[in-house]
Amino acid sequence: MQSVWNNRYLYLFVLPGVVWFLVFAYQPMYGVLIAFKDYDIIKGVFRSEWVGLAHFRELFGSPNFPVLLRNTISISLLKMLFGFPAPILLALLLNEVRSRLFKRLAQTISYLPFFVSWVVITGIWYDLFSVDGGFINEALASLGLIKEPVFWFGDPDYFWGMILASDIWKGIGFGTIIFLASIASVNPELFESAVVDGANRWRQVWHITLPAIRATIILLFILNIAHFLDAGFEQIYAMQNNMVLDRAEIIDTYVMKVGVFRANYELATAVGLFKSVIGLILLVTANFIVKKFGEDGVF
C-alpha cells in the first residue's frame, strides 16, 4: 500500500483514462448484445428478451444486403488495389528528386488535401466536376475529348471511380511520410556498393529501396485489412446523393440511416456486428499469412 501512496499521482493520472475506456469503448461492446435481443427501452439491454438470430435472418434476407455488401467490398477493393500503393509510388518518385527545395515544396503542397475535411473536398470536387460549367468538363471539351459534359457525380457508373480518385487525391501526399522515412533510414553504403557493382537507379530501387520498406508496407497493409469493410464512412456519406445511392450505400451509411434516423436499433447493430466479425476474420487471416511467409505480424 505504501508504494501505491507514494505513486498516488501516477494512479491519478491514469485513472480518468481507465474509466473513460471502460465507459466509451467497453460499454458499447456489451451493448452489441441487442443484436440478439428484442430491445425494450424500459427493460434495458440486459433484461430485454432474447430473439436469437432473428435480426441476422432479417438482414441476410433483405434485398438491401447484397447491394450493401457489393458496394462496400468493391469500394474497399478498389482502394486497396490502387489507393494503397499510390503513396508508395509517390514516395519513390519524390525520393528521386535531386533538388532539395523542390522536394520540400512538393511535399508540403501534397499534404494539403489531407488537412481538409471531406465536406470541403466534396464541395470542391462537386464544383470542379460539375455538369454545367465545371472546370474538368470544360477542359475536356476544349481538348476535344468529350462532346457532351459528363455527369461525374450523378452517373452511377462513375461513382466508384470518383470515390477512388478523391480518396487517392486526399491521402497520397500524407501517406508518403511514413515510406519516405523508412527509405531515408536505408544505409547509404548499400547504394554506394550497388553503384560500384554497376546497378542503375532502377535496379537500386528494386533491390535495395523496396526491400528496405517491405516491413512498413506489410504492417500498414495488415492494419488496413482490419478496416477493410469501413470503405470510408465520412467520405462516402459526404459524397453520395440520391442519383447514385444504388452504388453509394455502404454498410456504415446504412447502419446510420436505419439505426439512427429510423431508430431500428437491433437491425443496425446486427449489421455493425457482422462488419466487425468479418473485419476480425480478415485481420487474423492476413496476420497468419504474413507470419507464414516469415514476416513480422501485428501480433
Binding site: S3, N7, Y9, L10, Y11, F13, P16, G17, V18, W20, F21, V23, Y26, P28, M29, Y30, G31, V32, I34, V45, L93, E96, V97, A106, Q107, I109, S110, Y111, L112, F115, V116, S117, W118, V119, V120, T122, G123, I124, D127, L128, I178, A181, N200, L220, F233, E234, Y237, A238, M239, N241, N242, M256, G259, V260, Y265, A268, G272, K275, L280, L283
Partner: protein, 296 residues
C-alpha cells in the same frame, strides 16, 4: 558518376509529373478562392479559374452576416479549443503514468487499450450509450467521446519512455512529486510531440461533421462543417434545404451576391485556419507520424 541518358529523361519526366500533381492539389483551392473574391452574378457567367474578374469582398460579408454561420463558427472554435486542450492534457497524463514501471497493473491497462484499436461496439450501441449519458443534443458530445484514443496514448508513452531517467531520479531526490516532474520536466522536454498531437486533435475537431449529423438534431449546435454540408445540400438524404437568407447587406451587394458565390466564400472560411497553420508545423507532424507508426 554521370547520370545516363535514360536517367536524365526520367528526371525530367519526374519533375513534370510532380509539378502537375502539385498543381492538382493547389489549383482547386486557388480557383475557389478566386471565385469567392469575384462578384457573384459575374462569376455565374463562368470562366473564372485563376484570378477574380470583378473583385469584391461582398461574398465574405454575406457569409459573416448570417447568424447561423457565425454561430457554427463559434461552436467549431469552442469545440476545437476545449476538445484539443482537454484531450492533450488527459492523454499525456495517462501516457506518462503508463510509461513508469512503478505503476502496477500497467500490462492490464495496456491490453485494455490495444483491444480498443481492433474492436468497437459499433455505431448503434455507441449511440444508445450517448443517449443514456444525455450526450445527445449536447455540446459535450463533441468533446467527451474523443478525449482519449489508444493510439495517441501510445505515441505519447513512447515519447516519455525515451526521456532520460536520470533527470527524473534527481528531481525525485529533491522531493519533487510526480505532478511536478511531469509539468516541470516531462512536458517542456516533449513540446514537439505536444505540438504534433495538438495539431492532429485540432484538425480532427475542426474537420468532423459526422458527430453532429448522428448525435444532434439541434440546429444551434451544428459546427461549421455540418452547416456547410447542409448549405451545399450535398447529401440529399438529409431533410430540408437551408434557406439562403442574406440579411444586413447593402442593397447593391445583395443584388450581386449569389448562393454559389457565398458557398465558395464559406469553403474558404472553413479551410483557411488549417491551411495557414499546417505548413509551419510540418516538421513536427512528420516526426509524430513516424513515432506513431513505429509503435504501431
Amino acid at each position: 558518376m554521370k547520370p545516363t541518358r535514360g536517367e536524365q529523361t526520367f528526371q525530367w519526366f519526374n519533375y513534370i509529373f510532380l509539378s502537375v500533381l502539385c498543381f492538382s492539389f493547389l489549383f482547386p483551392f486557388w480557383r475557389i478562392a478566386a471565385i469567392s473574391l469575384n462578384e457573384g452574378l459575374d462569376a455565374s457567367r463562368g470562366g473564372i479559374n485563376f484570378w477574380p474578374r470583378k473583385f469584391t469582398l461582398d461574398n465574405y460579408a454575406a457569409v459573416f452576416s448570417r447568424s447561423d454561420i457565425v454561430n457554427a463558427y463559434t461552436i467549431s472554435i469552442c469545440r476545437t479549443a476545449i476538445g484539443t486542450l482537454l484531450s492533450i492534457v488527459l492523454v499525456s497524463l495517462m501516457a506518462y503514468g503508463l510509461s513508469k514501471q512503478r505503476l502496477k497493473g500497467r500490462s492490464v491497462i495496456n491490453v485494455m487499450l490495444i483491444l480498443t484499436m481492433f474492436f468497437s461496439g459499433g455505431l448503434i450501441p455507441t449511440y444508445m450509450l450517448y443517449k443514456s449519458l444525455h450526450l445527445l443534443n449536447s455540446f459535450w458530445v463533441y468533446v467527451v467521446p474523443s478525449l482519449y484514443g489508444a493510439a495517441s496514448v501510445f505515441i505519447f508513452r513512447s515519447f516519455f519512455r525515451a526521456m532520460p531517467q536520470e533527470l527524473e531520479d534527481s528531481a525525485q531526490l529533491d522531493g519533487a512529486s510526480d505532478l511536478t516532474i511531469f509539468s516541470r520536466i516531462a512536458v517542456p522536454l516533449s513540446l514537439p510531440i505536444f505540438a504534433t498531437m495538438a495539431l492532429f486533435a485540432a484538425v480532427g475537431h475542426w474537420n468532423d461533421y459526422l458527430t453532429a449529423v448522428i448525435y444532434t438534431t439541434n440546429e444551434h449546435l451544428l459546427p461549421l462543417q455540418t452547416l456547410l454540408m447542409k448549405v451545399m445540400n450535398i447529401n440529399q438524404n438529409e431533410t430540408g434545404t437551408m434557406a439562403y437568407g442574406v440579411v444586413n447587406l447593402s442593397e447593391s451587394s445583395r443584388r450581386t451576391v449569389t448562393a454559389e458565390s457565398v458557398k465558395m466564400a464559406m469553403l474558404i472560411v472553413v479551410v483557411l485556419p488549417i491551411l495557414t497553420i499546417y505548413p509551419f508545423l510540418q516538421r513536427y507532424f512528420v516526426k509524430g507520424v513516424i513515432i506513431g507508426s513505429l509503435k504501431g
